[in-house]
Amino acid sequence: MAKFLYLEDGTQFTGTAFGAPGVGVGELVFNTSMVGYQEALTDPSYADQLLTFTYPLIGTYGVDPRRDQGPRAVCQAAIVHTLENEPGPTGETLAQFLTTQGVPGIAGIDTRALTKHIRTCATMKALLLDAPLTASFDSTYAALHSQRHKWPTPVAATMKAPHATHHVVVLDFGAKAGIEAQLLAHGCDVTVVAPQCSLAAIVALQPDGLLLSNGPGDPTDYAACLPLIRALQARYPLAGICLGHQLLALANGAQTQPMKFGHRGINHPVTLLDSGRTIITSQNHGYTVMPSSLAGTDLVVTAVEGNDGTIEGLALRHLPAFSVQFHPEAQPGPEDATGFFTRFNQLMQEKVTRYA
């Protein structure tokens, strides 16, 4: 069955449908990872986005329920060159999984040409349809965009680590499962709360530290959360990942800006300014903290991207708060950056020691 991909600038592609029937509406982005398609498709940060894979064979090892990064796949569509129908350990193929998850897909696309188009013309709006577009792109987009699924509000939940030394409250903007898994693996009990949660409610949880999670969209849309973040950083060791990193910056007076086509892949070099070492990181972001906006704030840059020099790490000079633009929890991606969680543990330990 044919499937139709329309871009905001009039570019169009026709391919073969797979996954769930129906439409995809949102921002068109590309991811350059050669492994980890399932983790990407279930990453909540891809909400409202149509996800293009640059690697041509997607589905080569099926799907494994243990690899999901969110409660369900929330991206708008999967765009692939060639769909592979290899079953995973439970027998499930990628196409079956996306059908169950309600995510439509299109195969048979020259994804390299599409990627180069995004690279050249920047991230843009796109529609994935079951039938050729009959009305204008803008009107169709507006109508379908208003009907799209909204990211569900997280339900507060606590997970216990064996022999936990700390208790971390995660402000969940769309947290990947990998973050919780890493915290648990680093000996932290984890309580997930919605970002709308009150300071009092968080204090009542008696956390040792706060973590601002990743999540979809433009960080400036989360202005309402900034006072809470400022209150939390004054009380607790605080760490931020991806959107959480951008929100820490905004909360402390810096500004963010959209990138031309973002960083989405698992091969991004990040130079850690303290050691001079470069690590390879997993990334998924379309906004970045503006270096010029740091002047006069309490923020200091701790890491930069190796290729374009964008800010990859920040810390507060006077408070135990730090953040990274990349994904130290990986899943998918290299495990080079797990030092992030060790550092977070150290800050929580220092705080405990100081007030002991």
């Binding site: 290899e86 020259d110 690279r119 091969n267």
Partner: protein, 1011 residues
């Protein structure tokens, strides 16, 4: 980190002659690294005894020494050059071993030479089995349990502890032979006893079996700051057990999910971190197909065949970057030469699939043992790039230059059935892939194949679908949509035509043009200008913009016995000359090991199969001014007729001239017309004719098929029975082609390369062969200038070669082979650059392939400052000696014969013939001048050879027929007509590292020169 400014001059050791397991990949990485060091401002001194290499060109290093790779030779060079540093990790195992030996001999200390890159302690830790075991244990990295045993009881006790099955690996046996997998104590008793008795040191390694695990390789780079990256992850289609050099390898990995991939990547980085690697490193791992369990198999702390493959697969130049790391630069500050906008500290990401297939020699040597195991047997490899696995696989198959029917039907010449098929599938040979298709042909399911082969279902599912798609074509009419669909599925025009049973031209006419995509290391994320392209029939955007004012150079494909790295050398030189002459030079080739497929060598590289279809598609897009076939060996020459038929303009000797030398009848007529003698001969296309002809010509006769390479299926026979046997082989090797039957003239064999502008002929020099006619020129020791020819004879050779060159209107290069006997006979003419071009170029100081390229472009000899005829030879004498890989190929016939067997060559240059032989034989036969009282071990045939025995005795040698305890003989000489590397005497020589001479002419010639 800034680069090391305390050093200025760096010594680089090459890998020496090409042998199986250490081949052209080291020319590629060595050249790249030397240029990289010079780019940083260092003076580079290079030592290598292999003349057929780009790395020994004057442009690559400041000072090039074509000297033996020995401690004394290197010590002399170090004393003269006084380098500040030595980079030991570029010359394969040879370079590493020599660096270790120089260190142990105190030479490095004496001359204050520091070692760059990965340290020797690290190298020892990675290479010493026990030290490696210890390190992995410390790191908590799992390795298969193993124990070295000298008695069967220890093996049984160990196996009882770790559980069956266990692998038995006898130490120091030929090709790792004599081992096996034991699944019960009874089997272990049998295999263990056999292994212990076969091992010259009565030693076996008993190893816990991980059969059925996936074999995964990571190519890793690390710098002095501790930054480490994984450049490429490659997955072997064959599970562990087959050497990765003989395996079908795919990049990137296909069947590893992210968690598994990252677990193995993290392990690889942890290992290189602990080893403190400064440069490139290869880590081989085994991954359970069912659980998270993995094992570390092996670590190679240097550039390797795998790193060359990874460089070509990703576009990331590992050796170039490794050299920069060695002088202190960090990955984060080295520019990515592909994008030029990003840095070397990142991990390449692919948006295509790469499949590597080994090129094995068993099509040529049908009696050698073709079973694949832990000892590498491939002489070369091909790589296919596509946007799907099937497309990449089929392009790799099309690149193999194997039996044409196999390449179109995917079926082996002889299909096995039932138990024989199971045996073929469980004991893989070079035919493994095709037996898989044969099984599918016989109705096997991929599940059944998985149970027998333990190949991952992903690959088997693809094979099965591919097979079904090919079968479906048999019932599909040849229409445009059908052909288009078949092309998108990855099939070649030949496969489609054969399956649809229609004309190749009809398919070609209906097939849409492919599009070309760039290899850019970053999947299109960043703008790149890499001139490195592959084709795909998946519809989409074509990224290759025609260069204009271009010339297309056809490469020589995979390295085979008979067509080696020499032809890559000539290809590269052709490109250099084209560029110097102001043309855009485009290369098409499919060999991932070599310099010619380094994208920085040409103005554009098409990594494509060397078939008419793929070459014509490139020509259709690029519209080059002309195509050059003279430098790509027989591979390129074989394409010439079809290309011309499609209206392609060949530069140089025209098709008529090529045919005049390649077609037997035309060639005979030509020689007759020119009054040039050739051995009496005739042609036959069947056995009866052959048997009628032979007696009239007179035995011994030389039989050979026309249009073949490296003397394939060529032999000297002296009886009707032997004739019948060989003629059948010749018919099998080249069906429907005439078989040539010539009188085998006895005399001195010589050859010349000639350069011509179509009007005049230049001959750089005459090479005389130590071995006479009847031994392939590639297996002969050659000397320049000739030592046993009179001036008159030399003048006759020059005049005759000139006459032939002018008669066929040669433009460019040509090679003529002679026998000097009662008169001068011409035995062969090759209308192309030959194997001896690099040797003669190095010796005469004239870049022959470059000069020939200028002639192809229309220059006259005078324009290039080339004299007419043959200039006087220099005072020095140069010797080219063959290098054999007999030890790697059990069962290979070892007697030197018309069929070429050597895999590489060395050079020796000195004031006298004897001294030049000293040098050349060091790295080839590993033969030194005989010392009085040394023994020489002879087989019965040699022992009865009066002339030989007299010569040996005169040289002070004591003749023996059985090995004497506590005595290393000077050499083993075996002159039996029928012998293989398995014969006990040869086996003994090869496993004890004793020089093995298998032609009396070699022994006599060498002794005479040394006398």
């Amino acid at each position: 980190m800034p680069k090391n400014l305390s050093i200025h001059k760096i010594l680089v050791i090459g890998s020496g002659p090409i042998v199986i397991g250490q081949a052209a990949e080291f020319d590629y990485s060595g050249s790249q690294a030397c240029l990289s060091l010079r780019e940083e401002g260092y003076t580079v001194v290079l030592v290598n005894s292999n003349p057929a290499t780009i790395m020994t060109d004057a442009e690559i290093a400041d000072q090039v020494y074509l000297e033996p790779l020995t401690v004394p030779a290197l010590t002399k060079i170090i004393a003269a050059e006084r380098p500040d540093a030595l980079l030991p990790t570029l010359g394969g195992q040879t370079g590493l071993n020599l660096a270790v030996a120089l260190d142990q001999a105190g030479v490095l200390d004496t001359y204050n030479v520091q070692l760059l890159g990965t340290g020797l302690a690290t190298i020892e830790q990675a290479e010493d089995r026990e030290a490696f075991k210890q390190l992995m244990t410390t790191l908590g990295q799992p390795i298969p349990a193993s124990l070295t045993v000298h008695q069967l009881d220890d093996a049984l006790t160990f196996a009882a502890t770790v559980g069956y099955p266990v692998i038995v690996r006898p130490a120091y046996t030929l090709g790792g032979s004599g081992g096996g997998i034991a699944t019960t104590p009874a089997e272990l008793r049998e295999i263990g006893a056999r292994g212990l008795s076969l091992s010259p040191v009565t030693e076996c390694l008993i190893e816990q079996s991980i059969a059925g695990f996936k074999e995964i390789e990571f190519e890793v780079m690390r710098d002095a700051t501790g930054t480490a990256i994984a450049v490429c992850c490659m997955e072997n289609v064959d599970p562990v057990g087959i050497h990765t050099g003989d395996s079908i390898v795919v990049a990137p990995s296909q069947t590893l999910d992210d968690a598994t991939y990252q677990r193995l990547r993290t392990a690889s980085l942890a290992i290189v971190g602990e080893l403190d690697i400064r440069g490139g490193c290869n880590v081989q791992l085994a991954q359970s197909p069912d659980t998270d369990q993995y094992y570390v198999i092996e670590v190679n702390p240097r550039v390797s065949r795998s790193s060359a493959l990874a460089s070509k697969a990703t576009g990331y130049p590992i050796a170039k970057i490794a050299a920069k790391i060695a002088v202190g630069l960090s990955l984060a500050e080295i520019q990515n030469p592909v994008t030029k906008t990003t840095f070397a500290a990142f991990e390449p990401t692919l948006d295509y699939v790469v499949v590597k297939l080994p090129r094995l020699p068993f099509d040529k040597f049908t009696t050698a043992e073709p079973t694949l195991g832990t000892q590498m047997k491939a002489t070369g490899e091909v790589m296919g790039i596509g946007t799907t696995f099937d497309e990449a696989l089929l392009k790799a198959i099309a690149s193999l230059e194997s039996t044409p029917s196999l390449q179109t039907t995917l079926l082996p010449a002889v299909e096995c059935h039932d138990a024989a098929l199971v045996d073929a599938l469980t004991h893989p040979t070079d035919q493994r892939l095709f037996h898989l298709f044969s099984a599918l042909h016989q109705g096997w399911t991929s599940d059944q194949l998985a149970a027998v082969t333990q190949i991952s279902p992903f690959f088997l599912h693809h094979f099965a679908r591919l097979w079904a798609a090919l079968q479906a074509l048999h019932h599909t009419p040849c229409t445009a949509p059908a052909v288009e669909a078949a092309k998108q599925a990855g099939f070649s025009n030949e496969m489609i035509a054969a399956a649809m049973d229609c004309a190749l031209d009809d398919v070609a006419a209906l097939a849409p043009a492919p599009v070309y995509k760039m290899v850019d290391t970053c999947a299109g994320e960043f703008a790149s200008a890499t001139p490195y392209f592959y084709s795909t029939h998946f519809p989409g955007e074509n990224e290759s913009v025609p260069l204009g004012h271009s010339v297309l150079v056809i490469g020589s494909g995979p390295i085979r016995i008979g067509q080696g790295v020499e032809f890559d050398y000539t290809t590269v030189h052709c490109v250099q000359a084209l560029q110097a002459a102001g043309y855009h030079a485009i290369i098409v080739n499919n060999n991932p090991e070599t310099v010619s497929t380094d994208f920085s060598v040409s103005d554009k590289l098409y990594f494509e199969p060397l078939t008419v279809e793929h070459v014509l598609a490139i020509i259709a897009l690029e519209q080059p001014l002309g195509v050059i076939v003279q430098f790509g060996g027989q591979t390129a020459i074989n394409l010439s007729a079809a290309l011309v038929a499609h209206g392609v303009k060949l530069l140089g000797t025209e098709l008529a001239g090529i045919a005049q030398t390649e077609d037997r009848h035309a060639f005979e007529a030509l020689l007759a017309e020119l009054a040039i003698a050739q051995p009496a001969g005739a042609t036959a296309t069947d056995l009866a004719t052959a048997q009628a002809i032979a007696p009239t010509i007179g035995y011994p006769v030389m039989v050979r098929p026309s249009y073949v390479l490296g003397g394939r299926a060529m032999a000297v026979v002296d009886s009707p029975t032997a004739l019948a046997e060989y003629v059948q082989k010749a018919i099998d090797a080249a069906p429907h082609q005439p078989i040539l039957i010539d009188h085998a003239v006895q005399g001195i064999e010589c050859e010349v390369d000639l350069l011509s502008d179509g009007h005049q002929v230049f001959i750089p020099g005459i090479m005389e062969h130590v071995e006479g006619a009847g031994i392939h020129s590639g297996d002969s020791i050659a000397v320049y200038p000739p030592q046993h020819l009179t001036t008159v004879q030399q003048q006759a050779i020059i005049a005759t070669a000139t006459k032939i060159g002018l008669a066929v209107h040669a433009q460019g290069m040509m090679n003529v082979q002679f026998i000097v006997a009662d008169r001068l006979y011409v035995i062969d003419v090759n209308p192309r650059a030959s194997r001896t071009v690099p040797f003669m170029s190095k010796v005469t100081g004239r870049p022959l392939a470059q000069l020939a390229t200028h002639l192809l472009l229309g220059a006259r000899l005078a324009d290039l400052g080339l004299p007419v005829g043959c200039p006087p030879a220099p005072a020095r004498v140069a010797v080219k000696a063959p290098v054999f890989s007999f030890g790697k190929l059990p069962g290979l016939p070892t007697a030197l014969a018309p069929e070429m067997k050597s895999t590489g060559e060395t050079i020796g240059i000195a004031a006298t013939f004897a001294a030049a032989l000293d040098k050349a034989l060091t790295d080839s036969y590993h033969l030194t001048r005989p010392q009085t009282g040394q023994t020489v071990l002879l087989d019965p045939t040699a022992a009865q050879d009066r002339e030989l025995v007299t010569g040996l005795t005169a040289a002070g040698l004591q003749v023996a027929t059985t090995p004497l305890a506590q005595q290393t003989p000077w050499a083993v000489i075996n002159t039996a007509a029928h012998q293989t590397s398995r014969d006990p005497l040869n086996y003994w020589a090869l496993s004890h590292g004793v020089a093995l001479l298998t032609a009396r002419a070699t022994a006599l010639g060498v002794l005479a020169a040394w006398a």
